[in-house]
Symmetry: C2
Subunit: 270 residues, 2 copies
């Protein structure tokens, strides 16, 4: 059986270092295709580039122009492959248009050992059934954000006031997360998870799409099956830009991914 998500991120090798993808309309949000989904597509091409180093460890993506659903090409240029990690550049294009340029280091997370001394604190969330499900979003929101149909998300009630015009003003969002198709998380899907929640600026009362300039994700462990906890926070909204930090915790209570993106302040909706 193939999960929907694996079909959506599928890539086909066209030539050495060149991969084809067919980006589905199911990941659209606002004026483009979700950046996390695109990162997972690129991550999938890289995974197949390095059979003995299957896991993304660090991935940095610079978003050059808005991506549309349809065919795309990913070209991979290996910069170094030796020892326990390999580094490559990857570019996603549609026709002549450069969409994303990225760098990534891959390795084998299973070989890293179990010495864990995390002092970060796992987010506290009420049980999923006591959180606010994304399926409660009004139809007009779901119409402009088809990607929400891919997710089972349960938002912490303390940071969902923006849905009724009463944002907390703290710049925090947190939610339980899983894919609706039942596919369990893995290091490549985590590249999508770090950009799956709405912009953290919703919690500051700034509704609207926040275009990402740059996003770097670190995958620190293979996630255990089950619900993920995802937390977004921003602490530096200035000069029309903000940073969004994301943490992803797995069902075993481990901090499995950290990311930071720099994004433009949302444009007003309308």
């Amino acid at each position: 059986m193939t999960y929907e998500f694996d079909g959506h991120i599928a890539v086909t090798c066209r030539d050495k270092g060149t991969w084809s993808a067919d980006l589905t309309p199911g990941w659209q949000v606002g004026g483009g295709v979700n950046g996390g989904y695109l990162l997972a597509v690129i991550g999938n091409a890289l995974r197949q580039t390095f059979p003995d180093k299957p896991d993304p460890i660090a991935v940095s993506a610079y978003y050059l122009s808005a991506t549309a659903p349809g065919p795309a090409t990913i070209s991979v240029d290996v910069r170094r492959d030796g020892g326990s990690v390999a580094t490559a550049a990857a570019d996603l294009r549609q026709g002549e248009d450069a969409r994303i340029t990225a760098l990534a280091t891959y390795g084998d997370l299973a070989r890293l050992g179990d010495d864990v001394r995390t002092t970060a604190e796992e987010p506290v969330l009420p049980p999923p059934d006591e959180c606010v499900a994304n399926t409660m979003a009004p139809p007009e929101v779901r119409a402009i954000a088809p990607l929400m149909d891919r997710f089972d998300m349960r938002f912490h009630p303390d940071h969902i006031g923006w849905t009724i015009g009463r944002p907390s003003g703290q710049g925090v969002l947190s939610a339980w997360f899983r894919l609706v198709d039942g596919r369990e998380p893995d290091p490549v899907s985590l590249l999508m998870v770090v950009d799956a929640l709405p912009p953290v600026t919703f919690d500051l009362g700034m509704m609207g799409w926040a275009p990402t300039l740059e996003l770097t994700a670190h995958v620190r462990a293979r996630p255990a099956p089950g619900w993920l906890k995802v937390r977004h926070a921003t602490r530096n909204m200035a000069g029309g830009m903000f940073e969004e930090d994301c943490e992803v915790w797995d069902s075993a209570g481990r901090l499995v991914a950290q990311s930071r993106q720099l994004a433009r302040q949302p444009r007003p909706v309308g």
Copy 2:
């Protein structure tokens, strides 16, 4: 008058998109040349590539192999230049050896506006004269870290216990920072500042060099003249790697740069 730092990061255009640099031994630390200094050299080549977009906004560097003092070449490939920002790939090589591959987005920080809503809290440090100066480091430490002679650093006494074998165990370092040559900070020098302090792992009792895999810096404003405050923290030491978050605050109390790097756990000294 030319400041020492500007001489050290100087680049000469050899061909369109190709720059030469002469990396000084004065920035060595442990087995290599300081990664922040190298980032500033690359950042200087990029600044001259985009005369109307002089400021680094986001820079991501992947460190491929240890750099040695001496000649280096920086090749710049512009990926997009339109609107208010430009993005380029940059590679630093020595002979045939790839040392660093990087991506960067440049713009004009002076054009971004003064709307600042930072909720991050400025680090609290005793006055510089009540902090611990880097000049107090023993001669054997300064011998393996000549880069310390470039800096006037005053460390927070609460996080300097590692110098006497009593690390705080919190994974935090903070210090006042300025260049000894009197050069005031600017966006390009901030690329060096985010990697200038010792590894935050010193505060966890892990002495030794911590090789950087990846470092991304966001420069959020042009810094005011005077002392900078620099704070490092780590919250996820696991699997032989750790993240190091850095904040740089200027003398006007503004959070001017944020960075995160992924590094390998320090090798034991000796």
